[in-house]
């Protein structure tokens, strides 16, 4: 154990969410597919595609009809710039947090867009998904999105 320095007592303070949780049928399938390099969305009874998938239609609360592959390209619908990334961030170089509406989806997904500045990836920019090389079944299996051309 580390000795107190100059008589000052120190205690570690780690902010974490120390609960075990199960993913349930929909998110479990989504994250398993991510690990395998596939993106899934949920088709609602009303025909809309929810990406990332939810167990229930966000508009009606009805159970979804099923899961199906989602497009890996889409459009930025909201964005903010992270000029000085911290260890908590998805990327360690400056990037944009963005809501990305994938083609065919009625909802948007939160992730990082790798671009040189916010001017290079404003709202309306077309982006495509970049997979992480090592995948473990988490949201970080998607490394980021990047502008198309």
């Amino acid at each position: 154990m580390q000795q107190p320095i100059d008589g000052v007592l120190e205690a570690p303070y780690v902010m974490e969410y120390t609960y075990r949780r199960s993913l349930g049928p929909v998110m479990s399938a989504f994250f398993t597919a991510l690990r395998d390099g596939r993106l899934l969305g949920a088709r609602t009874a009303s025909g809309k595609l929810v990406v990332p998938p939810l167990e229930w239609d966000p508009e009606t609360g009805a159970a979804i009809a099923g899961l199906e592959p989602a497009a890996e390209e889409g459009v930025v619908t909201a964005a903010t710039w992270v000029a000085a990334p911290e260890p908590r961030h998805l990327l360690q170089e400056p990037f944009a947090y963005a809501l990305i509406q994938l083609d065919g989806a009625s909802t948007a997904m939160l992730h990082a867009v790798a671009c040189a500045s916010l001017e290079a990836c404003p709202v309306g920019t077309r982006v495509k998904l970049v997979w992480s090389e090592s995948r473990t079944g988490s949201l970080r299996d998607i490394r980021c999105f990047e502008p198309v051309n």
């Binding site: 303070y13 929810v50 939810l54 964005a79 908590r88 963005a98």
Partner: protein, 348 residues
């Protein structure tokens, strides 16, 4: 107006006090609560033995230890056992629980208190723990960055940065629109004047029924109605530039049923005030209602207190005879996800 959201018993806010940030920062939690509770009860001529129910609102994540509110409860006086409850939320939701409890009609009064100290960690990061642990939290996003995405969505649907700057001036966080617009971006499109200034704080309120309310308060602020609704958890599943939950809550509470003179809005990030006012307008809020005449809560934002403070200030305006109908709003979540509305009225 839904009968579910209307007071079945005559219930009024009869007392409200909040600590100034300067005062709160000098006291520990128990001293803080002892001070506000004694001011809201003894100080207002309300006998402690008439209080049949006590509810507190606070967040363990701010203090960094579990069940911190149990220790803090000593300050409320529990040597003679009391019937009490707690919400891990802003004190506004403690008020909601107390209001529901009083509708049973068997007790005279209820005490509500709430407190929030600055976090041991980065507060913007702590507040992001409200996000879902599957799709949102793993991105590492913090509360200010979520609010920035929301502001970006607003700009994409026609709002302007000038509107944000006007809110900053009204909140006392910028001397002029031009000065606000000249600030560099912190979380583009948010500037420093769009963010809350966090401070320690605490507040206490007493609500009471019928004749007892009239006996302890010259002008009780009668709770006509209250309603609270949350939007879905997913940030991308709704139009972030609007607040459907707030509009719905305001409709359920009957905001538009009569003319309102004062509205106290609790929007932690400036642009959210624009969203909140638009939702209230859609629900029929009087166009000439004064917005945040108290100055609002953003210049000294005490997390877990600010929402109850907004409602308390709306009640105080009636206590002081400055208005006959006011609306108080409380919110929770970095993208204004959960909204509570209280409609308060003077009655002769």
């Amino acid at each position: 107006m839904s009968t579910f959201n209307t007071s079945r018993e005559e219930i009024a806010i009869v007392s409200f006090v909040e600590l100034s940030p300067a005062e709160a920062s000098q006291l520990d939690e128990i001293e803080t609560i002892q001070t506000i509770v004694s001011r809201a009860t003894d100080g207002a001529g309300i006998a402690r033995d008439r209080i049949g129910f006590t509810v507190s609102g606070s967040c363990d994540m701010l203090v960094g230890r579990p069940f911190s509110w149990i220790m803090a409860m000593d300050g409320a006086g529990v040597s003679k056992p009391i019937e009490e409850s707690h919400v891990e939320m802003d004190g506004a939701w403690a008020l909601y629980e107390a209001w529901v409890r009083l509708q049973h009609g068997d007790i005279d009064a209820a005490l509500i208190y709430c407190f929030g100290a600055n976090a041991a960690e980065d507060l913007m990061q702590v507040l992001a723990l409200q996000l879902d642990p599957y799709y949102l939290a793993p991105t590492g996003i913090n509360a200010a960055e979520v609010a920035a995405l929301q502001a970006s969505a607003m700009l994409a649907s026609g709002a302007t940065e000038r509107q944000f700057a006007e809110v900053a001036v009204r909140a006392g966080l910028a001397v002029s629109v031009e000065a606000a617009l000249a600030e560099p971006y912190l979380h583009r499109p948010l500037r420093a004047s769009d963010l809350p200034r966090f401070s320690d704080g605490a507040a206490a309120m007493v609500i009471a029924r019928g004749d007892y309310a009239r006996s302890v308060c010259a002008r009780p602020a009668w709770i006509q109605s209250m309603a609270h609704i949350a939007d879905g958890h997913s940030l991308g599943a709704r139009d972030l530039s609007k607040s459907p939950s707030l509009e719905k809550a305001a409709r359920l509470a009957g905001v538009g049923a009569k003319a309102t003179q004062i509205v106290e809005v609790h929007a932690p990030f400036g642009p959210q005030e624009v969203i909140a006012l638009e939702a209230l307008k859609q629900a029929g809020l009087s166009a000439d209602a004064k917005v945040n005449p108290s100055g609002g809560t953003r210049a000294a934002q005490s997390v877990m207190v600010a929402g109850l403070a907004a409602i308390g200030r709306a009640a105080s305006a009636i206590h002081r005879g400055e208005a006959s109908r006011t609306v108080g709003h409380a919110s929770s979540g970095p993208a204004l996800q959960h909204n509570l509305i209280a409609v308060l009225e003077e009655r002769s």
